[in-house]
């Protein structure tokens, strides 16, 4: 009997077969690590420090834009000639889901601000908080697509965040180190997956595979 749910899940998983989504996501995290590192090198209240604070949203948006462009380019060059072209549906989040995300985000933001207000030394926990929050996000993705390596990445995020905090590296420097290390872990996971994918999937002879 055909297991419909398994086929649907496998189809979603196929997007991650080549490791390219992880590589592009890893590059975003590395860029964020670089951004926070630049903040640590800039003198407090200097022009560079102010400019970096203002540019934060721009850095996030352009990193996301660049990563999606790179992903599309690499998919076109590497994946489609080997395992075929597929375009996934772009799901607009439902209003309930959007509201839930905003509420959760608001609660986390408010709790962080409140704790920081009560004790400024709380900021030494920022790397651990980042690590745990991203661990939950990656865990949700892992649960949805059912790929073992994403569970490992989720655990890696939590471990790196907690380890950086325990090492007492500091708040911004710690966040920079967390994003650098987690970005490297995600990129390496993607590269390893890509190598396996390239070995298993030679370029298809299009002339002989395309027909109806």
């Amino acid at each position: 009997m055909v297991d419909i749910e398994k086929i649907e899940k496998r189809t979603v998983q196929s997007f991650y077969d080549d490791g390219l989504p992880e590589i592009s996501l890893g590059l975003i995290f590395l860029l964020l690590g670089g951004y926070f590192f630049a903040q640590t090198t800039a003198a407090e209240r200097s022009a560079l420090s102010s400019a970096l604070s203002v540019l934060f949203v721009l850095v996030i948006v352009s990193a996301g834009f660049l990563a999606s462009r790179i992903l599309r380019f690499l998919k076109r060059r590497i994946t489609y000639p080997r395992t075929g072209y597929v375009a996934f549906k772009k799901k607009e989040p439902s209003s309930k889901r959007r509201a839930a995300t905003m509420i959760v985000g608001g609660i986390i933001g408010a709790a962080t601000a409140a704790l920081y207000g009560l004790s400024p030394s709380f900021k030494v926990l920022f790397p651990a908080l980042n690590g745990l929050l991203l661990a939950v996000a990656v865990l949700l993705i892992a649960g949805k697509i059912g790929l073992a390596r994403f569970y490992i990445l989720s655990a890696a995020s939590a471990v790196i965040g907690l380890a950086v905090t325990a090492a007492g590296v500091g708040d911004i420097k710690g966040i920079s180190l967390y994003y650098g290390l987690f970005g490297a872990a995600v990129t390496l996971s993607g590269l390893a997956t890509l190598i396996v994918y390239l070995r298993k999937s030679p370029r298809a002879d299009r002339e002989n595979t395309d027909a109806v």
Binding site: I7, T11, T209
Partner: protein, 102 residues
């Protein structure tokens, strides 16, 4: 006929066929996919895939667009609205049937 089995005659036999069901399941998740992707994911031969897609197209369940990417021919397949409705109906009916029969 036992009540559990009464929904069986209503099962869409065109989609019920395993290869076509697999194709519909894949296409239900994606916007569109090309021939090579469908062939690799289903493990069907080129001839079999062509024949099943032709049947689905005849029923108006899939739309097939022949195009080119550069000089490379590309056959894009997508589930139509009728195909999506038929697949969803099949999926929910069959799920109910499985739940009833255990």
């Amino acid at each position: 006929m036992p009540s559990d089995l009464r929904i069986l005659p209503d099962i869409n036999r065109l989609i019920h066929e395993p290869a076509r069901l697999a194709l519909a399941a894949i296409l239900s998740v994606v916007e569109s996919a090309d021939f090579l992707y469908l062939q690799r994911e289903t493990g069907l031969t080129k001839g079999n895939l062509s024949s099943h897609l032709a049947k689905l197209e005849e029923a108006g369940y899939v739309a097939i667009e022949k195009t080119y990417r550069g000089r490379i021919p590309l056959t894009l397949v997508r589930l139509t609205d009728a195909g999506t409705a038929a697949y969803r109906a099949y999926r929910s009916r069959f799920k109910k049937f499985l739940e009833k029969t255990g």
